[in-house]
Symmetry: C2
Subunit: 205 residues, 2 copies
Amino acid sequence: MSGLRARQKADRHRRIIEAAAALFREAGYEGAKIETIAAQAEVSIGTIYNYYQNKGDILGAIVSMEVNEVLNAGRGVVAMPPANVGDALDTLIGIYIEHSLHYLSKEMWRQAMAISTQLPDSPFGQAYTALDRSLTDQIGALIARLQEVGLARPDIDGMALGELIFNNMNMMFIEFVKRDAARIPELRASIRRQNRILVSAIAKE
Amino acid sequence: MSGLRARQKADRHRRIIEAAAALFREAGYEGAKIETIAAQAEVSIGTIYNYYQNKGDILGAIVSMEVNEVLNAGRGVVAMPPANVGDALDTLIGIYIEHSLHYLSKEMWRQAMAISTQLPDSPFGQAYTALDRSLTDQIGALIARLQEVGLARPDIDGMALGELIFNNMNMMFIEFVKRDAARIPELRASIRRQNRILVSAIAKE
DNA sequence: TTCTAAAATTGAGTCAATTCTGTTTTTATG
DNA sequence: CATAAAAACAGAATTGACTCAATTTTAGAA
């Protein structure tokens, strides 16, 4: 029985997120004042803090939506991977990266990453760590799949390899969002170059 | 002719850093108020901001000292590496990690990392990126050294491999400082496990 | 020694996130 | 319905990083 209270709650959540997302994009995370978000969402400052522990958690909610979309898109690749290790990795990573700036600007990513290390125990901090874990697992699942279909050597520690690939990709992505001038094609090329070492070590000849 | 002014300047720098380092350790980065640092260092708030652009830059100065020490210690390993690829990497990385909590608490690391992604163009942001680069280069130099002495295959892209190893280590370290309960031996073991994949791919049989 | 411009210091004031407390709204109960 | 407890709201007050205009100190020329 979704009462009035529950409906109003969902509605306010939505309004706050929409107002924040718009403002973050327009004015940047730092430039967006809670006061303005509150006005835009037609709630008071106090209410925002009733819904989110701090400004970072609002951004966190937006980031989570983005990453979950990416994870969904990745499932397709794991289910039917391209027919060689190099392309399979490149395709999956490509999905992650190409998607990354859909809803979030680089500045928003920088803030999100910063908050997740700064406050690892806040709701968003924990959520972000979980999202990273999911991405790592998805890469691990791809490796496992490639081993199943006989494209990758079965004696490789798939889990460790998944972590290695994710960690490298993630660091490269962090450097990418840190430089506004950095471009996606160059990022992908760098990651491919590094993965080549791994690919040659694990692909069945 | 180091005049009075230059001497006072150096002295104030030192006092600010010492006061800040003590307070960051005691009260944590967030818990340390600029006001308190100023009082402890016997300068005014304004003076602190004359010496450092913001609170993060003070922490940055401390982090830089730490990392530079680590880089120095690493030089020895690169000059005379252990006689196989696995041990060589483990020794160098061991130096980095074992040193890491000498002056800096995990909380201080978290803040430093956060600031470096949040404000990549601030003095500290740029310095931090440069330090990462130096560490990457040092790992690259170790690989090159191992190739020279015939322990590693010469056809490997040493630069790309250095980045890969650093990026993975760094992400593992980030996760390490995010969890207060995480311990150094487990961190080293995880990194070793991941590097094993690489070692088997690049060591000359 | 005296004087002046440049450099450095000072701390009260500004700004924006977050907290806190009193008020209003909703729900459940008789 | 009436009402009391619980939940949510509002916005003024607090807090702490950072700024800036006024003041003090230093360097070095006359």
